[in-house]
Amino acid sequence: MDCDRREFLKVGFKTLLATGVSIGAFELLKPEVLAALNKEKGLRWVFVVDTTKCVGCGMCVRACKLENEVPYETNVSRTWVERYVMTKDGKILVDSPKAARDGFIKNDPMGVTVKKEDIDKAFFVPKLCNQCEAPPCVQVCPVGATYQAPDGVVLVDRTWCIGCGYCIMACPYGVRFFHPLYRVAEKCNFCYHRINKGMKTACVDACAFGARQIGNIKDLEDPVARIIKTERTAVLKEEFGTKPHVFYIGLDSIVR
């Protein structure tokens, strides 16, 4: 083939350009790039608690204990319900006897009988693990037994935890405890074994009032994601910077 210098330079430039473009295309097809693209459309479990709907029946706590084999009689629980009563003279009474496992059947917050006419406001607040975006428990675990799944749920490997309690100390929400039988760190994991099979968590299923809901924040069609995006929700103890993924509707400033 005849090829003068000008032709050679032209073809050479085109070849270089084509190679550059194709290498760029390969760059785009890198697995991590693809994974990152997919991640945006992936799965991130999130919880919504509507405090205006909770009646403090404790069915959720009972269901959780039975579902997750936390001995029923023990004074620890993966989830609990708090009762807040603010009296007209400004007193704030808060309690959660036995984690509200048996519900609130008496009008005696903190052992004080309060007359109906003395109450300024009263409500219930269900609590559970916040499955934080920046979980301090994962940060401090010395062996990596507490870890975060790609879908945001913080899990505990019971076979690897040494039981030092550092994660319990690090959690600002006090949701962690030692399992009475396994003697390792224990916490709510959004019923991971259920949600992975397309089921709801035990507490969501047990709540007859729709105060608890679980969903995927990355799915725009998800009703839970829509609540978070369109309604006024709040998280607990935002100042710790843990970026909780349990959102509350009707959260009051007196909630601890």
Partner: protein, 410 residues
């Protein structure tokens, strides 16, 4: 069925259902013992690095004692963790965002430095002992000779030049050891200081406060143990009454000289420690963040006796007065040193237990009732018996080390 922590926790007002005093006496013992290690090493380094000749005897003793303490330092953690057999998991899958995971690295690095320094300081003794015991009779002596021969590492050079090299090596190791010792204890402070969920612990000053009080406690324990050993020596000499032995008067004069000079360093570090602690307290009150209300009730009301009476009054102010009154005697020094140790122990107690005395709700309290009589394995490990066992351990290790390494020359 009781859950962990329930046996010794008393709750008051609104506390989350899962909250208990999870870090009990063994987590008080852990920084206390680690602090003693760091302090003993810093004391020995005053001679090796800074050339304080008057501390030569004390330095040699505190170096070996530091190693004995180091062997005991991880024991409180093993007593505390719920799955002690999994303790090695920390080394298998260290999670370096965790302060506890750094322990393995810092601990072994520090242990290697101290062991090497002990070797260089005592190399001449090891070689001489190996030679002396080469043809010794009796199984015990033969075994001892074997250990010394192994420790010579095949080198029998004790020329002046070689010994000078040893001295230089010990000096370098002591120099490297000081920041490592401070890091070892600084990170123990970091374990607490970095827990953002705890309003009392959450301060960047925590590691520095821990280092200062560590040096104080280490110096105090070394001095106290040194005095006890010397006193025991005097009693033995008085019993035997051999004319060629060193006289009790000679030991007494050496002892008081060393105690007086070491006390000066102790006072300096005590002033540093108390200044930092008070600075932290004043700063918290001045800034008065959201959690200050409950902190104030714990510090000035519920823990007032523990903090202001025992820690600051009996454990800091009183010993300072004892040391600063002219004409220090051995007996007076012993009382002062014991009180210093009580003060530092109470500082650890007030941090660890005081930090858990208030709930994360910031509206409830918890009390730790230390188990005195064990009811089960848990109350045995995390009660008085467990704490006393940990306290006795370094002395058992020191006794064992003393069989092979001369702890005190004279």
């Amino acid at each position: 069925m009781e859950v962990h922590g329930e046996l010794w926790t008393l709750k008051e007002f609104f506390v989350y259902p899962n909250e208990y005093i999870y870090w009990s006496i063994q987590i008080v013992m852990y920084p206390f013992m680690t602090g003693l290690v760091a302090g003993a090493f810093v004391l020995s380094s005053l001679y090796h690095v800074f050339g304080r000749k008057e501390l030569k005897d004390m330095a040699k003793f505190s170096l070996t004692f530091s190693y004995a303490l180091l062997l005991a330092a991880p024991m409180p953690l093993l007593f505390h963790i719920q799955k002690p057999l999994r303790g090695f998991n920390v080394f298998f899958t260290p999670h370096f965002t965790s302060a506890i995971a750094a322990f393995g690295v810092v601990f072994f690095a520090y242990a290697a430095i101290v062991a090497s320094e002990i070797w260089f300081v005592n190399r001449k003794f090891f070689i001489e002992s190996a030679i002396n015991l080469k043809n010794a009779s009796g199984l015990g002596n033969r075994l001892k000779g074997l250990v010394y021969r192994a420790w010579t590492l095949g080198s029998y050079d004790i020329s002046e030049e070689a010994l000078k090299k040893d001295e230089r090596a010990a000096k370098i190791l002591a120099g490297v050891g000081i920041p490592t010792a401070c890091f070892l204890h600084g990170y123990a402070g970091f374990i607490f200081g970095s827990v953002k969920a705890n309003a009392l612990w959450m301060t960047p000053l925590m590691p520095v406060i821990f280092i200062m009080s560590a040096i104080v406690s280490g110096i105090a324990l070394c001095m106290l143990t040194y005095i006890i050993i010397m006193e025991a020596k005097k009693v033995r000499i008085l019993r035997k009454r051999k004319p060629w032995m060193i006289s009790v008067e000679e030991i007494r004069s050496v002892e008081i000289d060393i105690v007086k000079s070491t006390t000066k360093y102790l006072i300096f570090f005590m002033i540093m420690a108390i200044s930092l602690e008070l600075l932290d307290l004043v700063f918290r009150g001045y800034t008065a963040l959201k959690h200050w209300d409950i902190l104030r009730t714990v510090i000035y009301e519920r823990d007032f006796i523990n903090i202001f009476v025992i820690q600051y009054g009996i454990g800091t102010l009183l010993p300072l007065i004892i040391f600063l009154i002219p004409g220090l005697t051995i007996k007076r020094a012993m009382v002062g040193l014991f009180l210093v140790l009580v003060g530092v122990f109470m500082m650890r107690w007030n941090v660890v237990i005081g930090g858990q005395a208030f709930s994360l709700t910031l509206s409830g309290y918890m009390d730790y009732i230390m188990p005195i009589i064990p009811r089960n394995l848990e109350t045995l490990k995390e009660g008085l018996v467990g704490a006393l066992t940990i306290m006795a351990l370094p002395y058992i290790f020191l006794w064992m080390l003393n069989k092979f390494i001369p702890v005190i020359d004279k």
